[in-house]
Amino acid sequence: MILVWMIGILLVGGIACWLVAQRNTFVCRWIALIAVITAFLIPVGWYVQHQPVIVAGDNWLVHFQADWIPAFGISFHLAMDGLSFIMLLLTFLLGVLAVLCSWNEIREKTGFYFFNLLWTLAGIAGVFVAMDLFLFYFFWEVMLVPMYFLIAIWGDFNRRYAAYKFFIFTQTGGLLMLLSILALYFIHGQQSGGNYTFDYFALLNTTMVGATARWIMLGFLIAFVIKLPMVPLHNWLPDAHSEAPTAGSLILAGLLLKTGAYGIIRFVLPLFPQASFDVAWFAMLVGVVGIVYGALLAFAQTDLKRLIAYTSVSHMGFVLLGVFAFREIALQGVVMQLLTHGVSTGALFVLAGMLKERLHTRDINQMGGLWTAMPRMGGIAMVFVMASLGLPFLGSFIAEFLILMGAFPVSPVLTIIASGGLVLSALYSLRIVQKVFLGQAQTVGEPPRDLSAREWVIMASLTAAIIFLGLYPQPVLDMVRNVIGEMVVRR
């Protein structure tokens, strides 16, 4: 039931924002903030209550099921396990920050903005807990539309193009996935003697012959790797990320990409163990290509947000590598990577947004020497740049270390190339610091002000999160151990 509450609060809160904003935008902001915080507190509070359950390691912690379209065996089935729980925490954490960092950035149409923001979050949360494939697809789409509006209305100069690109890319994947879902639905129905259902747990024990399984699996996989994104299907990402408003980029990089990875872990591997194992080597290869390719492009960019966007292409390559290594260590690393990348890249985008607010440009050639004026921001930026190049005692290191460690026995060569990606990541990450904060101060006129209290809260919480994940990741690892373990034994 709590899951329904979580999503419901966001949806209702969104509508409330829209309505209230006609009169008073200030109240509307607070409504949004409170809505997200409550949504955040629900799983946290639940965790505080039921801690023993998790430690005991029963995979499925919460279930909620209700009929929806019985004629087609579609039910409103939500469930949460460790993985979902982790993702939910990330979602709401970033959600709160997203609301905070759009506090002053959004001047007009505030109500509709927060409506979209909250609905996107609701959609994402739904994706992480939906256990009925139809429902999953439903949420999958629901999170797109508001996101489209966020980009298309509050975006930057080139927003419409970016918005189209984003929507069309993801939609293509989505529809292919829908086809696969249907195919799976009928195959299962025929096998189980007319028990037609979209329920995840029912579909789990569907057996398919090689070719069919591979095609159906491809349908899912394409949808997810477009979201991930995987080279060469990544082209929507740089545009969307660089054009979106700060909160938009934060959510795109921090959460939407994760839904892709989540989808692979939750659906592709368990539903098609054999088929996905057959494509594993290819997927790993592409992942490594992504790591290198993304890094090269990131190094070349001069638009700060675009640069960061390409870094996430590179980082998500690690996810692909890790997932298809089919090793517990690697998969645990992938989960860590989802978290840490969400936090670190999100933080970088927020920083980029703050810089844009102050300097009104995203071009790093027009920045430089900002450390003098903004030592605080500089320090924070240093932390997250180091995170993105995988410095130990920051969460990203644990993630990448585990992924590489896990993938190494499977394919040493690819892993070594991927490790080369670490050097490249150092290249582009240092370039950020050097171009933006070091060197001669370029800004004429009065120097930009340092972080305000609100911004300080945002960045401090992110920093705390990334350092905590780096020094004491055990809780997360424990949380997903069972899920991952099951995944590994399945194949």
Binding site: K165, V231, P232, H234, N235, P238, L296, L297, F299, A300, Q301, R327, E328, I329, Q332, G333, G369, W371, T372, P375, G379, M382, M386, L391, P392, F393, F397, I398, F401, L402, L404, M405, F408, P409, P412, T415, I416, S419, G420, L422, V423, A426, L427, L430, Q434, F437, L438, G439, Q440, A441, L471, Y472, P473, Q474, L477
Partner: protein
């Protein structure tokens, strides 16, 4: 006693946290006290621990403390836990003790700098990271320290960030070491895959019965570790970053780029000595790399004009000696040289810092001169340092350590005459450039006026270090002279004894030759530079070409520029706007063209529409008649 370990890195960390969070609001005095104080406390604790260790060697030969479990996944379990054995003890002593002196020095040296707090924050963080590096009881935690010191060196080299060249130097340092680090990381993966553990004691204890000596895996692992070490310790071919790293403040060069961080490679190899002993090929490679490095860097040091670059190159070459020693299996000799080198090289850098400060940030030695009378303290301390560097027999610590290496490079089982000759040549060159440095800087007439004398607080560390760079040698005498080998006895609790050849000529002979070479170097330097600094070099063109070649560090930078940097930048530039994007734009274009074609049919002409209908009919009818 075990419980004390955590406090050694904890105090510098505390200092870092305080300074980085509130540093901007604190008075400078307080900052200085915190910055230097925390390290001094760490040093005191270290000494306490050290005494305890020397009195009663703990069981297992090490103190160890488990702080918390870092992460456990599957069969991989990594803890945050510290471990101090004889080898570590030497390192943490140097780190904290020399570090403390340098911090005290810098408290005065950096007084006028705007970012006083940032400086000490970074320095404290460095000390903390370096301590973690040497105290870690598993390789992942060590890697944490390893990267941490890299970060701090990056921050401190680029400390004066307004100057672009400094930032470039910082980047260069970070990137080149990063290459080594990555190799090291891969080494860890392979090691884990083979042994299933990354715990240092575990590895050392499992390796011998797991690996066959000289098996390809162990060779590969050790080579990867070696590359990591080469990166950090600026050995060939990854040495090019160190000279540029002199862009940082002098104390930084003293602490990071002379005494501690650059010797991390030495530590790594010594720490993993079991693995290296199992892989003779790698051992040979280590020795050869060390030999080449010490020669190459020494030659470059001969012709530098920037005082700090001279010292930097000499550092590289001294570390070359240590690698040579490691390569030939003279473990304790290598560590001993590290021990003495830390003192005298730190001393030299700090003294150089004083000189540079005194002369309005003048780096060029040929613009100095005649400081002997004006800055006596600095002169004598510098003299002590230089003497140790050029290993003047019996009166300098450098002699004892370097003489041991020279001796072993012939006499050790893996040693041979060739290595010995190179080492000897190195000794000669070292003496030569040390003399050149001394003479040009302190003799002759004065070219730049002195505008300030060093503060007392800066002199005291100099004197202390000077004392040690003379006296530190007396704890370890050559076997044939005095039977006093405290150091090697201590270190050999961890490291194996050096295996010797049979039927060697008397050791006195070697010592005599070594001493002679040293004096020859000094004399030649005296001949060339006394009074008439460097005139003879500028004249003959052939020599000046060689000089130019050596001056630019054997053109390694240019080579790498050409081989790696330029191609990389080229590739990234041409693909800035993502080639793959073209594909998708192409699809979009195609559908738009299709659209324009189709809409031709919608030209509003009724008759065309009728034709359309007719076409449809014909299509259907024909289809029907065909099927």
């Amino acid at each position: 006693m075990d419980q004390l370990l955590a406090y050694i890195p904890a105090f510098p960390l505390l200092g870092f946290l305080i300074l980085s969070l509130f540093g901007r609001n604190l008075p400078k005095q307080l900052i200085g006290v915190i910055g230097a104080g925390t390290v001094c406390i760490a040093a005191l604790i270290t000494i306490v621990v050290g005494i305890a260790f020397l009195q009663t060697t703990p069981e297992g030969g090490a103190f160890s403390q488990l702080l918390w479990s870092w992460f456990r996944v599957g069969n991989l379990s990594i803890d945050i836990s510290l471990r101090v054995d004889a080898l570590t003890l030497v390192f943490i002593f140097i780190i904290t003790f020399v570090g403390a002196l340098i911090h005290i020095y810098s408290a005065f040296f950096m007084w006028h700098d705007r970012d006083y707090a940032r400086f000490f924050a970074s320095m404290n963080l460095f000390v903390c990271a370096m301590l973690l590096l040497v105290m870690a009881d598993n390789l992942v935690l060590m890697y944490l320290g390893w990267e941490g010191v890299g970060l701090c060196s990056y921050l401190l080299i680029g400390f004066w960030y307004e100057v672009p060249s400094n930032c470039r130097a910082a980047n260069k340092a970070f990137l080149i070491t990063r290459i080594g680090d990555t190799a090291l990381l891969i080494g860890l993966f392979l090691l884990f895959q083979e042994l299933g553990t990354l715990n240092i004691p575990g590895i050392l204890q499992r390796a011998p019965d797991y690996f066959a000596s000289g098996s390809s895996n162990i060779e590969l692992i050790t080579i990867l570790l070696l590359v990591g070490g080469m990166g950090k310790s600026a050995q060939m071919p990854l040495q090019t970053w160190l000279p540029d790293a002199m862009a940082g403040p002098s104390p930084v060069s003293a602490l990071i780029h002379a005494a501690t961080m650059v010797t991390a490679g030495v530590y790594l190899i010594a720490r993993m000595h079991v693995l290296f002993q199992l892989s003779p090929v790698t051992m040979a490679i280590v020795a050869i790399i060390g030999a080449i490095t010490l020669l190459v860097a020494g030659c470059s040091a001969l012709v530098q004009t920037d005082i700090k670059r001279i010292l930097a190159y000499s550092t590289i070459s001294q570390i070359g000696y240590m690698f040579l020693a490691l390569g030939i299996g003279a473990w304790s000799a290598a560590i001993f040289h590290f021990f003495t080198h830390a003192f005298f090289k730190a001393l030299l850098f700090l003294a150089a810092g004083v000189v540079i400060e005194a002369l309005h940030h003048e780096h060029n030695i040929f613009m100095m001169g005649g400081l002997r009378k004006r800055m006596p303290v600095v002169f004598f301390t510098f003299l002590a340092g230089a003497a140790a560097l050029s290993a003047l027999p019996l009166v300098s610590a450098g002699f004892f350590s370097k003489d041991a290496i020279l001796w072993y490079s012939w006499s050790a089982a893996n040693g041979n005459s060739f290595l010995w000759l190179i080492a000897l040549a190195g000794a000669f060159i070292t003496a030569l450039y040390s003399t050149r440095l001394m003479l040009v800087v302190f003799w002759g007439e004065m070219k730049t006026p002195i505008h300030e004398q060093p503060a007392q607080g800066m002199v005291i560390p100099l004197i202390v270090l000077a004392f040690f760079s003379v006296a530190a040698g007396f704890i370890e005498w050559p076997h044939n002279m005095v039977h006093l080998t405290l150091f090697s006895d201590h270190v050999q609790k961890v490291l194996p004894e050096t295996v010797m050849k049979q039927g060697l000529p008397s050791e006195y002979l070697f010592q005599a030759i070594a001493a002679f070479m040293t004096f020859a170097g000094v004399y030649m330097g005296y001949m060339m530079y006394y009074g008439k600094p460097g005139v003879r070099w500028q004249q003959s063109p052939g020599l000046s070409a060689t000089r130019e070649f050596l001056f630019s560090g054997w053109k390694f930078d240019q080579l790498y520029q050409f081989l790696f940097v330029k191609p990389f930048v080229f590739i990234t530039r041409i693909n800035k706007s993502d080639v793959i994007d073209r594909m998708y734009n192409g699809i979009a274009q195609a559908s738009l063209r299709l659209n324009s074609w189709f809409s031709i049919s919608q030209n509003g002409s009724l008759r065309l529409y009728i034709v359309g209908v007719l076409a449809g009919i014909l299509f259907i009818i024909t289809l029907q008649l065909l099927l």
